[in-house]
Symmetry: none
DNA sequence: AATGAATGAGCTTTCATTCAT
DNA sequence: CATGAATGAAAGCTCATTCAT
């Protein structure tokens, strides 16, 4: 098996893409995108307000006409990331409300993976930089994050109850399946030569196998 | 299912433990431990040489009598982390050289998980701060990391060849199984009320299910 | 004797009162009052244009539609303060032109004290922030200030000449008596439980005793 | 009477003199002197850490090896100023403990004036910049200040009780006499051509006249 | 091995001010 | 008359690192 060289970078993908409709117009939006790129690459502490401003092409003081602090830029990114995640997971769960737990889990994992392939930089920032936020700035995102975990926990619970799944310790399954997608954001990119659906489908199958009773 | 509250911290565990026999004696070792704790908590960029020195109880200039730069402290931690990882994985692979691929995979995943439960801070630093290292400081660790992935890839390849495993896209299995353990370092701690072996066993079962042919 | 607790604040009084008829109408006047309050409390350098604007309820850029610079706001306040002072002292001196030097000095000191009790914030700004003005902005006020000192010097001179006063070094009396009122602006306020006339009368008596020949 | 031109500067004197034995050795002391000069001239808010550093001839970062913040430099100056004041006043009061109240008041006012002629910059900073200090940094000085006022209040009380003084409202005498010296710091300097004792003697006589019964 | 003093570069943030709208 | 966006300069302070002792 050919293993591609390990990338010491935090994210392999390059494009600082934000979900449709959430990028504010004008300078404010360009600040957000520059923050996304730099926070993803270097972390919150490793990226400076001047770097962001330089990337946007403005004076660093101008940034403060749009965001009250560096932390607020991160907070908005983290919030957007969590909202996209929650929206996609909720839609996946909702669209399969009446299906088998297996189908619903598949939908959830696919959605989870796809949000990481579609917005890898955002996902990395969302997952890895929460610790840098002041508690009051982090609070809204923390709640969204709990809702996401709840969606996964619920489908597992349902599958266990109706016998589709076999899980002696469901909480560990939540952490394991939840962790699957997270890693995707780090390595997914054009170099790996897999389409997004390929990864999503494969990872959904992994998840399904993880929870299914041994034969 | 009761989901414990999500922790915005990077690591839930507290003790800055290093593998036996690798901590240098005296001040040099205490610097390493302080660096471990602070880099794990705040990241390389977010932790300062003065914080490290304060935690050790020395003047920040004294640090330079032991390490030529802040980066070298991180480099040593990252190297130790990778060496422990490689040693444990190699031992697991070696001890099951003549067993089935399933048994060998089980041993590998168990070892992988256990190195994350035993040294969570070290694992977080090892996995998340490589990007902050100068290339020449990172190089030795990058090679160790490739060896670790090779071990996992090899057992998967063997299982596929002899029919134990069924994997249309083995590379994705490497990323998925490899990612399983990584996440453990973030949440494993006394609060979650699972013993290290419980997690290791369960995760090994997950991995095995992931690669096993559907019924 | 009960000494009230010393106030580390620059002015004890709170109301940003300006003399009748000098406050410009509309926003311009509200800027002046906000400047008065903030310059009195924090000094010219310690108060920012944005604080003033916030207190007025306008954008900081709007301020420049009314005053060409921060310094001009201070200059107008300082000018108003000096003009009020000159007007009151001149009126006091004029109204007692034909009285004894003692009566005239009494009138002057009373007026001097009262202008400090009536406009304590203005007095503090007028006395303490002149140094922050550009020379050309300060010039008109400097002249008014000299006229005020002249009035005091003249009455002392007259009293010495006609034997009412006994002062080996009249210049020191000018500084001492002039300084009496200045301090009043800092501590006069409702907390000290003295009416304005009480203070004025008492200070005038002090001044008179200072200049009168020992028995 | 020739009135010298009014000086818009905060202090006429130039030499940044500190009392004997209180200037710390080396850079720390030179920082203190530069702070004294600049805070006296421009106020705390109007003087910058970089100006201080430039005057000392050091990098602005070096300042933080000696003082933890700009406020701490001011706090030390203010404390020194208050301690010198308290020491001189206490010595004056103590040395005349068994004399008449008149003699004791004379000694106090003389001491008060002399501390302002001897350390005019320090006196201005001490008196005018307390408001810029954080409460916890100001607290020690506030207590010293109260002790000073107490010394003056006590002698006035004694003089009133034994009939030497006649003061219907002694509190106003405290403010007036206390204010006498304060102003001296602003204008005392070589230009005014008065020796320190001349001013002290004259002001002491003024104070004595202020409190003595009219003939 | 350890220190205090020092530094140049850089940090986040605020400053007074300008300008097109 | 008022604004939001923008700016260069500067604010207080911290950074990793050096060096003489």
């Amino acid at each position: 098996m050919d293993l591609p060289a390990w990338e010491p970078r935090r994210v392999v993908a390059m494009a600082a893409v934000l979900p449709d409709g959430v990028t504010p117009p004008g300078t404010r939006g360009r600040i957000l995108q520059a923050g996304l790129e730099l926070f993803a690459e270097s972390g919150f502490a490793g990226a400076s307000i001047r770097q962001i401003a330089r990337m946007v092409g403005i004076n660093s003081a101008t940034l403060y006409a749009h965001y009250p602090s560096k932390g607020h830029v991160l907070a908005e990114l983290v919030r957007i990331g969590h909202e996209e995640m929650r929206a996609r997971l909720a839609e996946a769960a909702d669209g399969t409300r009446n299906d088998s737990a297996a189908r619903q889990l598949t939908a959830l994992v696919r959605a989870h993976v796809l949000v990481h392939t579609d917005y890898p930089l955002l996902a990395v920032v969302t997952n890895s930089e929460l610790h840098a936020l002041d508690p009051e700035l982090a609070a809204p995102s923390l709640q969204l994050r709990d809702e996401c975990r709840r969606l996964l926990a619920d489908v597992l619970e349902r599958g266990i109850k109706n016998g589709e799944f076999s899980l002696p310790d469901p909480l560990l399954a939540v952490t394991a399946i939840g962790g699957l997608g997270v890693q995707v954001a780090h390595w997914f990119g054009p170099a790996l030569d897999r389409r997004r659906e390929q990864v999503a489908d494969q990872y959904a199958k992994f998840a399904l196998r993880m929870v299914s009773p041994d034969r």
